[in-house]
Symmetry: C2
Subunit: 279 residues, 2 copies
Amino acid sequence: MKTVFSLEPIRKISSELRKNGRTIGFIPTMGALHQGHLKLVKESKNKNDVTIVSIFVNPAQFSPTEDLDKYPRPFEQDKKLLEQGKVDYLFFPNAKIMYPNDFQTYVTSNKLGNILEGKSRPGHFSGMATVVLKLFNLVQPTNAYFGQKDFQQSVVVKHMVSDLNLPINVNVVPTVRDKEGLALSSRNIFLSSQERLQALSLYQSLLLGKKLISEENKNVQMIKTAIKNYLQEYKLICLDYIEICNPKNLSPVKIATNKSVILIAAYAGKTRLIDNIII
Amino acid sequence: MKTVFSLEPIRKISSELRKNGRTIGFIPTMGALHQGHLKLVKESKNKNDVTIVSIFVNPAQFSPTEDLDKYPRPFEQDKKLLEQGKVDYLFFPNAKIMYPNDFQTYVTSNKLGNILEGKSRPGHFSGMATVVLKLFNLVQPTNAYFGQKDFQQSVVVKHMVSDLNLPINVNVVPTVRDKEGLALSSRNIFLSSQERLQALSLYQSLLLGKKLISEENKNVQMIKTAIKNYLQEYKLICLDYIEICNPKNLSPVKIATNKSVILIAAYAGKTRLIDNIII
């Protein structure tokens, strides 16, 4: 695996690959890699000639009150995992080259960027979409891979790719969970053992929602109330939102169908967690 | 010249050209073509294997109170001019395929988009940058050509290309003027003969500013006052702004240098005109 630190070299590598007719699979990450990321790598390796992973903890998608500084950055460990995963190129730029002093051009999703996670984290999706667009322009991938865990992120990216006419296929890969069902996340390391135990209730509550819908309880208000009641037993879990939505545009539905998605966000102690389930 | 109306064909054409190592020159226009546009075509023809022109009157860069509906659309005449100019491809999409119903992803320049023209025309540069980015992604040009007349537009586009890491060279071509010095613009057809006559004062006032600066009058306030006094004689001309700026970031300067740009915007009757001069 070759590690690339700056803009022109990665652009040159991808241009050469595209000129030679090679397909490029790309996985943008913020590092602190886990099996969820490695599943994206595996998908990419299966479908493309060359796989490029980026690691960049993107300041633009953190608000001033969020955990940018304490976001984990275990670079050597990440590198090892990517080498084991037979990644071809690791792109590892620093913030100064990604956001030079006079940087000022941002991408925003006017609707999708302001609901759910966007409502709780103003500016988050604009920062995310902007850096993903920059990385897409540098790496020029054929296919890009995102985890289903960050469901809204994948919808925002898909919409951006369509709206901005980018020649890229966006692939969403199912969430990887640990043995007990907790969705893998780089932020899970912040959980105390008590918090981790109670965080299992998130996925359980999603399964409860799915069960209710499959048992013909389609009324969204009723399902949401059942989930809220279930979570109330877990004193370390503080629900931010639970919504049942159309998976394409994330507009809330009143009557759940087998095409809906249930999205949940909650704090376990001070750690914000998100999860979702497609019915 | 081949006219292309939809997205996939233009994408296919440009992808094939790039794959075959051909350079693509691209001129995005809103039609109503004049010699200024044709000079861009000539520049592109000189420097690239293939030249693509787009004609798209972009609704996103007009505010509700502006002249979208009455913007001139002499398509057959435009086509003839481009054929005479030996353009290879004309891309002529409609608003529905460029902005489908759920379109919502916009690009904004946080600083450059809000000053000068952006202050007088809120949202204009976001709409312009968004459509230019879409067209860039569809056409994948090696070189793009913009007229110096829309100076701020060229600065916004250059900054977008740099910020978003687009692999495109942005070329700015000097303004074409009629015999009497009026900068060519598609909007000039709206001028009455009286207004047209008085509109000549804009370029004259810029020349006056340049002369003052070259005579060592560097104080911007003084130069602006001289220009305002000059224009006051022209009763059909209503000045919107006159600014002397750094040409790279358009920040106003206090002391003019031989690297400054003087930017002017004014109404001649109901028609908004802009012009500029580099010192």
